[in-house]
């Protein structure tokens, strides 16, 4: 089992995510995919289409985490400013990439579509960046150092991530087990804290559910060590049995 820890952050870019016009789908997808791959997503920032905000977010995060993934702002319209912003973040020129122009030009020609100036915008990237290919869109994403720049359209974001992820370094996968608990957090809180203290080789999360009338709880035990998870789950189940027995006694009285 690899014990290496690989971390990541995401910057989701787009005014539409902050105005409520669009519900983001890429954050949850990236979180799922990274967790499965053994990359720990530590922070997400959503920023608008403003260069200074993108630069600040990317520069803060790329120094703290193994990888930074961005979504959005690499299309052909005037509000797509991510390529410029990432170039500014790294202090390198934003240029038309010859290889991208060639690939895209050939595809548009084959489709009898005009390779407009707008479409050519999608070939711009920071000098020295490498392509992120995908099987959906003609235009590539790009990687510069540890920053991976992908599209905002979910189908394209997912296709780019599918291509990229097997090429990245990954670490020990964090496994998890879920215990569905019929009691609210107020009932289990003290017992669960004790169990967390006794099982410090796991991280125990407690997620309240409210159906409009009563509370229940989903307890999630996470660890890189599956045996440690099993030990904590045993302790949680024992606690839940005790609570059940105590409630039964109370009713009989």
């Amino acid at each position: 089992m690899s014990e290496k820890i690989v971390t990541a952050a995401m910057v989701a870019i787009g005014d539409e995510l902050l105005s409520g016009k669009t519900k983001d789908k890429n954050i949850a997808h990236l979180a799922d995919m990274l967790t499965t791959a053994g990359i720990e997503l530590k922070e997400v920032r959503i920023v608008g289409d403003e260069e200074a905000d993108i630069v600040a977010a990317v520069n803060a995060l790329r120094q703290r985490y193994t990888y930074v993934f961005t979504s959005g702002g690499i299309g052909p319209t005037h509000d797509d400013i991510t390529a410029e912003a990432i170039s500014a973040a790294f202090g390198v020129p934003c240029e038309y990439d010859d290889e991208a122009l060639k690939i895209m030009g050939a595809v548009y020609e084959a489709r009898e579509m005009e390779f407009t100036e707008a479409r050519k915008r999608m070939a711009r990237m920071p000098r020295g960046a490498a392509h992120i290919r995908n099987r959906v869109s003609v235009a590539p994403g790009f990687t510069i150092e540890n920053v991976h720049v992908m599209a905002g359209v979910p189908a394209i974001f997912q296709a780019m991530l599918d291509w990229l992820l097997p090429r990245l370094e990954t670490g020990a996968v964090i496994h998890s087990k879920i215990v569905d608990c019929p009691y609210g957090e107020g009932t289990i809180g003290e017992g669960l804290e004790e169990i967390q203290n006794d099982h410090s080789d796991t991280v125990i999360g407690s997620y309240p559910k409210f159906d409009g009338e009563t509370y229940s709880t989903q307890i999630v035990v996470r660890s890189r060590d599956t045996e440690a998870i099993d030990r904590a789950v045993l302790a949680i189940n024992a606690m839940l049995s005790e609570i059940k027995a105590a409630k039964a006694t109370k009713v009989q009285r």
Copy 2:
């Protein structure tokens, strides 16, 4: 028409949002509600249940924006650390609030439920904080200076926001109109950029849609001035008519 500009940021707190276990629902809801109210959401950060990360996010954002809203981490279990983290961010003690203890104690007594130590945790807040009431949960959220701390359970987050929002200062509402465009961004990109340049009293956003085969675009024109929006929409419609006529001529030839 109020010309005041009121801004906001959000910090969504919880390991479960970063592991992919839970799909956040509060960000999109807050974005919708703030936009309608005339508060401009400028940035969102998602962080895990780690005090240093919460403190860093809240302190960075509360100085930049009129308001900061947080979700998550104010429940009764050991992984609910938001009250401590916010207290640390402001450098004040985190204490049991007398009024909260009194209100919550009375409710639990009426329900014949034990006021456990875990439940009492939900009465802790930074010294000097004011309550955010709600019609769903017994435990209050709280406000300290310009930071509003709310629950992560969506039904409770929404109820707290319903109570809070009418009590906040709001600014000029940003209105918007949507133009559904049957062409992809590569076709309209250049024309749209010209229109944006001619209509700098609006912000024109362009959102590609991809149905697995063809692209279309949703064009969104935003402004505090509804007449400015109408002028830009007219120009966009004229451009789309021109493209349509050009395509028809091409087909006939």
